[in-house]
């Protein structure tokens, strides 16, 4: 009996792996993936390098030395031109815009009368930068009126961040929950995609056996349950093969691309992490470095071993549950178009898991909703993985919750697979009609 299961697994695996579209997808996906990353890196670079030129017609006595070139904008100072002439020359030179600062006695009046002329609606980063320049001059001016010196003000305006610590004294970090949940979310998302794609494979393979009418020949040799199980295992092995090829070849390709084209990946990561430190002053650069170190340490401290093992456990259990449902659906219908009404209810809990994960696990990994969904078997493979980067035990997922969720998954798997097998057994021999949910329930009793 075991050898028959082996035969079925082997056939299903080979049928999938030799399939032309499978081969094409396996080869193309890493290329597409790397292509996307290269494209994004390239676009980010291009975006960075585009500097807009704004001409400045300053007729006032203020703001003489304030328009210094920045990453986004460089300034061309115009002199001795009328406003109309300035406009004309700006358009003629195809510069981004013209900043006109009219003469007036006070800085407030000057600022209020200033105009930015552009061809279309201006980019917000440009207006923001210009506004900042005005803002800082205005602030200094107001402070002077109040008799506060710039130095005094600077000492007052130091940004403040609250110190964070866990109860056992480790310094904890703002945003680290989000980073952890994001990493867990990546794993959870991978599980969802895997379930949907390879569950679909199982379903199509069942439908193929039905429509080609080979099913009755096969189940006169093996039990329907064996066939279903062989199909599920064979397809998941094909999926694992594809995944491994992707990961290996994508990393190889990445390596080659970095070597050959010298795409500056560091620039990418610096950009994303640069968002937070940008708000800090130069004096805090040293502190920022040590904070970056701590983030790196936190990420390094994420229990990767546990995550990968759990990924495997939750993936296997989740996939077994969902793909048996997919197999039952494939057995119930005659062609793929009829599957829609049955597929939506399966995808629903998966989507829910992803959204609940991103919205509630991010902000509170151990709150009641996160706990509930990480125990509920249809969502736990995804939600639990989002919680797990915090570790198991103190400060992380309580051990009992981890074990309970696995236990519930196993129980659910046994329940679902026996129900699915009943629908499968009856469905594979039914031709020509699209069953209703009512009929499916009836099949459970045959």
């Amino acid at each position: 009996m075991a050898s028959k299961l082996g035969l079925i697994i082997k056939r299903e695996y080979l049928a999938k792996v030799r399939n032309r579209s499978f081969i094409v997808m396996t080869i193309l996906s890493p290329l597409l993936m790397v292509g996307m990353i290269v494209l994004i890196a390239y676009l980010a670079k291009v975006n960075d390098e585009e500097t807009r030129v704004v001409t400045v017609l300053n007729e006032s006595s203020f703001f003489q030395n304030d328009f210094n070139p920045s990453k986004n904008i460089s300034f061309v100072h115009l002199e001795d031109l009328s406003l109309e002439q300035a406009k004309d020359s700006t358009t003629a030179l195809e510069y981004y815009g013209l900043l006109h600062i009219p003469p007036a006695p006070t800085v407030e009046q000057v600022a209020n009368a200033a105009y930015l002329y552009t061809k279309d609606n201006p980019n917000t980063s440009v207006t923001q930068e210009l506004e900042d320049i005005f803002q800082s001059q205005l602030r200094q001016n107001r402070l002077q009126k109040l008799g506060v010196s710039f130095e005094q003000f600077s000492s007052v305006e130091k940004p403040f961040e609250i110190n964070l610590s866990t109860f056992d004294g480790e310094k904890s970090m703002k945003g680290i929950n989000e980073i952890k949940a994001f990493i867990g979310g990546g794993f959870g998302y991978a599980i969802m995609m895997f379930i949907i794609i390879y569950g679909g494979f199982v379903m199509r393979s069942v439908i193929e056996e039905k429509t080609s009418r080979i099913i009755e020949v096969i189940i006169s040799s093996v039990k329907p349950f064996q066939l279903m199980l062989g199909k599920i295992i064979g397809n998941s092995l094909a999926g694992i093969t594809q995944f491994s090829i992707w990961i290996i070849s994508a990393s190889l390709l990445m390596f080659i691309v970095v070597l050959i084209f010298g795409v500056d990946l560091a620039a990418l990561s610096a950009d994303t992490s640069g968002v937070t430190p940008g708000a800090m002053g130069v004096s805090q650069l040293g502190a920022m470095d040590s904070e970056m170190m701590m983030y790196a340490k936190e990420i390094y401290d994420i229990p990767w071993g546990l995550l990968i093992i759990s990924f495997f456990i939750y993936f296997v259990l989740g996939y077994l549950i969902y793909s048996s449902i997919y197999a039952a659906i494939g057995a119930a219908v005659d062609n793929e178009t009829d599957t829609q009404q049955f597929i939506f209810p399966i995808i629903l809990p998966l989507m829910l898991a992803i959204y609940v994960g991103f919205f509630s696990v991010f902000s509170n990994p151990h709150g009641p909703i996160a706990v509930g969904f990480s125990l509920f078997p249809l969502t736990s493979p995804i939600v639990m993985l989002m919680r797990l980067p915090g570790g198991i035990g103190e400060g992380g997922v309580p051990v009992w919750q981890f074990l309970l969720s696995i236990f519930l998954l196993i129980v659910t798997f046994l329940g679902i697979v026996s129900l699915a097998a009943k629908i499968y057994r009856t469905g594979i021999l039914m031709y020509g009609k699209k069953p209703t949910y009512k009929e499916l329930i009836k099949w459970l009793r045959y």
């Binding site: 079925i8 020949v217 096969i218 006169s220 040799s221």
Partner: protein, 312 residues
């Protein structure tokens, strides 16, 4: 007689629907057994139970005297009515897979497949994909896969559907050869001409019940009703002859050809006694045909089913 398969009071229901009710059958060894019945009668349900695809709700089935068990799968070969093959798989690979599922080793399966492929002249199909073959070609492969593991009991459900007459004949000869070699065969169909040709025993299932079974020749004897087909050459007045016969005998139908002086009619005699009528006929005519009509399987089938439906 020794039986390959005995079914006792087999009942199967699907929800409210009864597929088989109290079916009892004895299928003798080494014979071709016709399992007949209209569509939806329960033939396929019964065959699926023998193949252990489904299980009876009650009753017992013995194969070679033993209660049906999973190990018997290897001694049964089944060609279902709804049959097909994996479209994108190569012929040889597929046949090997199906043979191995029936418990043959790979090398054994390969040897036998080569033999059968040569026998049916399809040796060069090994590397073709099923989608490149015609329906009839695919049917040949299905036939081979069904008989390859040399089962003691073969079950053919409408084996000739999808074959052209030439290939149907080849398959028919193969079936007869298998029977010669000692295989017992259950043959399910509603094509009665092939029943006449092949079956020694039949069972008729209608609306989930067995309404008739036995040796085909015995059944035919039982269904004979002393009807004779007669052809006469009458020299003188054909119509007068007809009239006088009608007075004395139960003429069912007649046909008079005055130009050729030919008279044909069907007569039912009160018992199996032909002396009276022969004496009468020989007086005024030359008899050129006098034969008893033996009901065809088709007649029996229709008559029995109709009787059952009319509550007789």
């Amino acid at each position: 007689m020794d039986h390959i398969l005995v079914a006792e009071n087999v009942t199967k229901t699907y929800g409210d629907y009864t597929a088989l009710s109290n079916i009892s059958l004895q299928i003798p060894k080494n014979c071709i057994y016709g399992l007949l019945g209209p569509n939806g009668a329960g033939k396929t349900s019964f065959i699926r139970i023998i193949n252990q695809i489904t299980h009876q709700d009650s009753g017992e089935i013995l194969l070679n005297g033993e209660p049906l068990a999973p190990k018997h799968i290897a001694s049964i070969g089944y060609l279902p009515e709804e049959r097909g093959l994996y479209k994108s798989m190569k012929v040889g690979e597929q046949a090997l897979y199906l043979a191995q599922l029936k418990g043959l080793s790979k090398s054994e399966a390969k040897t036998r497949l080569t033999y059968w492929f040569d026998r049916l002249n399809i040796g060069d199909w090994w590397d073709k994909k099923i989608q490149e073959l015609s329906k009839g070609m695919a049917q040949k492969i299905q036939f081979i896969v069904t008989v390859l593991h040399e089962p003691k009991l073969l079950i053919f459900d409408e084996p000739f559907s999808g074959f052209d007459p030439i290939n149907a004949n080849i398959i028919k000869d193969e079936i007869l050869q298998l029977k010669e070699n000692g295989t017992s065969i259950i043959f399910s169909t509603h094509r009665m001409e092939s029943v006449e040709e092949l079956c020694e025993h039949i069972a008729l299932i209608h609306k989930s019940e067995k309404i008739l079974d036995g040796k085909l020749s015995d059944i035919k004897k039982a269904y004979k009703n002393n009807i004779f087909n007669v052809g006469l050459y009458v020299e003188k007045d054909v119509s007068a002859m007809m009239r006088s016969l009608k007075e004395k005998f139960n003429i069912l139908s007649s046909e008079v050809d005055s130009d050729e002086n030919q008279l044909n009619f069907k007569v039912q005699l009160p018992s199996h006694q032909t002396g009276d009528i022969l004496m009468e006929l020989s007086k005024g005519a030359n008899i050129n045909r006098f034969e008893e009509t033996i009901p065809s399987a088709n007649d029996i089938f229709i008559q029995t089913v109709n009787n059952k439906d009319n509550g007789q």
